[in-house]
Amino acid sequence: MLADSRKENNNQSKLKPRDWCLPLLLPDCFSCSPDGSILARDSSVVGNVDMGTPSVLWNVAKKCFTVGVISLTVSDLFASIVPVRGASMSPTFNPKTNSLLDSLSDDRVLVEKLCLRKYKFSHGDVIVFCSPDNHKEKHIKRIVGLPGDWVGTIYDVVHIPEGHCWVEGDNSASSLDSRSFGPVPLGLVKGRVTHILWPPHRVSSIERKTSRNRVSPS
C-alpha cells in the first residue's frame, strides 16, 4: 500500500502541470470522488516544493466566490453602504469640507434598495441615481417634485412628466442637479438613503425635508 502510493506519487510528480490544472478544471471530482482526494493529497505533497497547496487555494477561492456572490446579492436587493463625495448636499452630508482630510471625513451612508421593487417615492426622499449624462457617475440628491407636480425654478415653472422626478441638492449654491439637466427618469434611481453610518458622532437617520411653497401638485 505504501509502496503503491509512492509509485503514484512518482507518477504524479512527472505529470506536474496537468495535476495542477485538474483540480481547477474538475472541481466535483476533486472534492467528491475518492480518486480525486488521493490525487489532491499527492499533489499537495509534490506542490509543497514550489507553491502553496492547491486544495487550500481551491478552498480559499471557493470561499471568496461565495462571499462575493452573497454580498453582491445583498447589495443589489436589500442595502449597501456608499461614501458621499462633494458638498452638494452640504448641511445633510459632509457639513465641513476639509481639503486635507477629504477622503477620511467623507460620510458613509446606508442605501436601501427595497424601494426599487415598486419605485414608490415621496417628496423629500434622498435618493442615489445614475447621472443622465454619464451612466458611470452616481449622484445623491433630494427629491423635490414627483410626476405631475409643477416645480418653480428661478426662471420658470416646470411640469414634471410621467415617470420622472425633480431632484435638487440641499446646498443649492454648488449642486449639479435637475436645474441643469432637467427631470430625471425614475428608472435611473438606484436606492434611497436612510441613515448616516460614518463618522461615528454623526450616526443618525435622515428625515424628509420638503419645501411646500415651491411645489404645487397638479
Partner: protein
C-alpha cells in the same frame, strides 16, 4: 439534546445551500444572462406579436460594447416598472432624422443625440412608442442586449 443539535446543524446546512443557490441565481440573472418575455406589436417584423421568450445578456452594456442596430432591453422612462425592447438607431453624437407619423415623410425633424444618451426605435414605426415620443434615452436605463430567441421553437436562433 445531541440529537436536536445535529438536526439543527443539518437544517442550517440545507438552508445555507439554498441561500447560496438563490444568490448565484440572482447574480447570473442580473449580471450575465436572463430570459425575458416580449409582448406587443412594436417590433413586428423581428419579434412576433403573440409573445416571444428571448435571452438578454447584461455584459456588453457594462463594458460599452453596444452599437447602433443592436436590440436592447430598456427600462421605460415613462413607467419605471415596465421594460421595453427596442432597437438602437443612433448613439451619442450621431444625427437622427425622424418623423412622428411615418405615412407623412415631409413632417420629419432631425437632431443630434446628446452625450450619454441613445436613440431607440421600434421596428414597426406605425405603432411603436419610442424615442420619437419621449426623446433620447439615458444610457443608464439600458438593462441588456437581446441576442437570442428561445421560444417559439420554430424560430429558435440568434437575433441581429
Amino acid at each position: 439534546m445531541r440529537q436536536w443539535r445535529s438536526i439543527a446543524k443539518e437544517a442550517m446546512d440545507r438552508a445555507s445551500i439554498i441561500v447560496k443557490f438563490l444568490c448565484l441565481l440572482h447574480v447570473t440573472d442580473a449580471y450575465v444572462v436572463s430570459s425575458n418575455h416580449v409582448l406587443g406589436p412594436s417590433m413586428l417584423p423581428t419579434l412576433n406579436i403573440t409573445g416571444d421568450v428571448v435571452l438578454v445578456e447584461h455584459l456588453s452594456h457594462r463594458i460599452g460594447k453596444l452599437g447602433s442596430g443592436d436590440l436592447v432591453l430598456v427600462r421605460s422612462p415613462l413607467d419605471p416598472n415596465k421594460t421595453l425592447t427596442k432597437r438602437i438607431v443612433a448613439m451619442e453624437g450621431d444625427k437622427v432624422t425622424f418623423s412622428l407619423d411615418p405615412t407623412r415623410s415631409f413632417s420629419s425633424r432631425s437632431l443630434v443625440v446628446p452625450k450619454g444618451h441613445v436613440w431607440i426605435q421600434g421596428d414597426n414605426l406605425y405603432v411603436s412608442r419610442d424615442s420619437r415620443h419621449f426623446g433620447p434615452l439615458p444610457y443608464g436605463l439600458i438593462e441588456g442586449k437581446v441576442f437570442m430567441r428561445v421560444w417559439p421553437p420554430s424560430s429558435f436562433g440568434l437575433l441581429g
